[in-house]
Symmetry: C2
Subunit: 414 residues, 2 copies
């Protein structure tokens, strides 16, 4: 019942938001940034309550760190809002225009999606980030954060709502579901009458639950079992730093490299040097028979290893005898996120780019660049691994849809 009421309010808000000018939206974002800084004490007090409860529940240190806010993190949130204010407004762009023989003039205009639902896990900064991106793209947003961060999320949302009201915009442009009950989250995923799109942000379990249960169209921000293929024509001086970077620069992220595919012709030259480079970061290598032959210290890989997103200092390595075998292996085990080929052969590069089925396919670069900021979008709501609507890094544009505006002079259909 309360969810339905939130849905109705969000729908009312979306009609108001679609009429706002870019200037009005930017002003509200900057005012919200100021408000976050001014109300930092209240937010930190709420966060302290979350942290206390989390410690009582013996939360793991890594998660505690994600949950924790301090002055610096609140400042970063405020800064994030100001950065979004500076990005170009995607709404209103005329994407296409054409005339029909009967005189109808058709224009395709970029418009907000409407009401976006976001389900996310413990990091409270997502509350401000997700609001800013949805709002700038003209959307109302209903947030469902992790229950661990409930007090923090409520405090942040309250500040954002008050800031919107100060600017003459209803606070319903951002709403937070305050009931941590799982049944409420499940009902939220079926609030199809009011919510246009649902975006889960978090681990594989959360995303699976949303995909399994939502009747609202979902943008899946999935896992990344990303591969690097070292071709027989690869420059190994280039390959090694790319692999080390993609594997170890940040291990817990979806664009990290999880699996290496090596052409037989470079196996013996590449692997010992790579082993040495990865040893500095204590990366465990799990390889097939040929890999283990070259690297006696390597662990023998099982079939299951090739399909795993380790998010850890582990990498699987597979030997292939051809580019085609590499492509076929990658397409089989890929989560269609980011895949890279290292090669000096332009034809091999083209074949890889064309035939590997992933959101982002690379030649001679680290998979770690699959990121809204690295792509120059200035922001990121997530990285889509589905084919529908958006693929790869999603910025403001990906939070919009379109409508057709058709102008006639009395046309009827014969």
């Amino acid at each position: 019942m309360e969810l339905k009421e939130m849905g109705k309010r969000a729908v009312a808000a979306k009609y108001q938001l679609q009429c706002l000018t870019t200037e009005e939206k930017n002003k509200a974002l900057c005012h919200a940034a100021d408000a976050l800084m001014e109300q930092a004490r209240g937010i930190l007090a709420a966060n302290a309550r979350d942290l206390e409860r989390a410690r009582e529940n013996e939360m793991h240190q890594g998660l505690l760190d994600r949950l924790m806010l301090d002055q610096g993190r609140i400042q970063a949130m405020a800064q994030g809002l100001r950065q979004v204010a500076e990005l170009p407004d995607p709404v209103g762009e005329c994407m296409e225009r054409f005339d029909r023989p009967n005189g109808l003039h058709i224009e395709k205009h970029r418009v907000p999606l409407g009401v976006i639902g976001i389900i996310y896990e413990s990091r409270p900064n997502v509350t401000a980030d997700a609001f800013a991106l949805c709002f700038k793209a003209g959307n109302a947003v209903i947030l469902k954060g992790g229950s661990d961060a409930l007090a923090s999320n409520m405090a942040i949302t309250y500040v954002l709502q008050q800031a919107l009201k100060d600017c003459g915009i209803g606070g319903d442009a951002v709403q937070l579901i305050g009931d941590p009950n799982r049944a409420v989250t499940m009902a939220f995923m079926r609030l199809k009458e009011y919510v246009d799109v649902l975006i889960p942000r978090g681990g594989a379990g959360l995303i699976r639950t949303v995909v399994e249960n939502s009747t609202i169209p979902v943008i899946e921000t999935g896992t990344g079992n990303c591969h690097i293929y070292v071709d027989k024509e690869a420059d190994l001086e280039m390959a090694i730093p790319i692999i080390v970077n993609a594997k170890t620069q940040r291990i817990g992220v979806c664009n990290a490299c999880e699996s290496l595919v090596v052409h037989e012709a470079v196996r013996e030259e590449l692997l010992p040097r790579l082993e040495q480079a990865l040893a500095e970061k204590q990366v465990e290598i799990r390889g097939d028979e040929r890999v283990c032959h070259t690297l006696p210290a390597a662990v023998s890989a099982t079939e299951e290893d090739y399909g795993r997103e380790y998010l850890d200092y582990v990498i699987s390595v597979k030997t292939v005898d051809s580019l085609e075998e590499a492509i076929s292996h990658i397409n089989r085990y890929s989560t269609h996120h980011s895949e890279s080929i290292i090669t000096g052969d332009a034809r091999a590069a083209q074949q890889f780019l064309s035939q590997v089925d992933a959101a982002c396919v690379y030649v001679n670069a680290s998979t770690r660049f699959t990121d809204g900021f690295e792509f120059g979008f200035g922001a990121e709501i997530g990285i889509s691994t589905q084919k529908l609507h958006a693929r790869g890094p999603m910025g403001l544009k990906e939070l919009t849809g379109y409508k057709y505006r058709i102008t006639g002079s009395g046309q009827i259909r014969e």
Copy 2:
């Protein structure tokens, strides 16, 4: 188990299809068209079996007519395939290209969606149509037709598969689920590992079932509770033929007008003339109090009437005192398909176009133009009423997605 096997075959086929040239695809489509004509007798024999069973089951005459094939309808199917061959190939287009400060060159390329699932009802021609559109856009397709048309659909699919094989393309590019069991259809909706997108084509019940149960991303081709709003500045000479056309030119379609919204200022002048025009087609008018006051023969509308897609010779009529009230009424009851304003006031037209939330918003034209052919797309797989991916008429382009192709020279992330 068999479904999984079909899924695997479709995935193998999608990798083959993405490598075909436009010429190869067009040749296969034309060959398939010839094959349909050559094998017409076999298809008609299969259709006769479906018709016999349907008559035994006392199928309604309208449905029997939809199920029935004859030489002309097979010819139309073949012609449809040839028309799709003539359409421009959407695959391969470079949609955007940009360079990053670190030297990465990023291109956004249009690619097939991959494997498309289509669930449809009795009309067997959809088998050939849906195949042609999916195939031309480089997609493998798994079809699940109505069980009434199973023999016809199997015969058509077999002809298409043989034609593909003749062209050196595996027959798995088009597969038909032959098991009419409901449990199989439900399992198909969850074949997420292999199917990228699911498109239901049919009535509201089918679409609801798919939306409720699918774990595969769905493109919803929904119902149309389409409105025409006659503004106070409307040219009534223009309004009446538009309303009559949108209501009666074809009543069973999603872009037919179901509800009329009339500004108080034109109520008394418009309604009696409209009643007369609609009487020729025996359209029942269900109106609010003011409408019934002007038209004593009108039926009193209930709240429920404003939300109904009649698909019949019935229209609801609502009186409003302002453009804003009209917009708000439409946004409340709309299924976000097609909405039209009749007005001579350019500002009112702009406000309506901006604020009404629908796939297609019209000024001074019939809602019946929401159609892939009328838009000049040359084809149509359906009309989307969701916000994600595609909205309004969907042609070949809407059966594609994109991938990012990134070329570097050893870039790693700092």
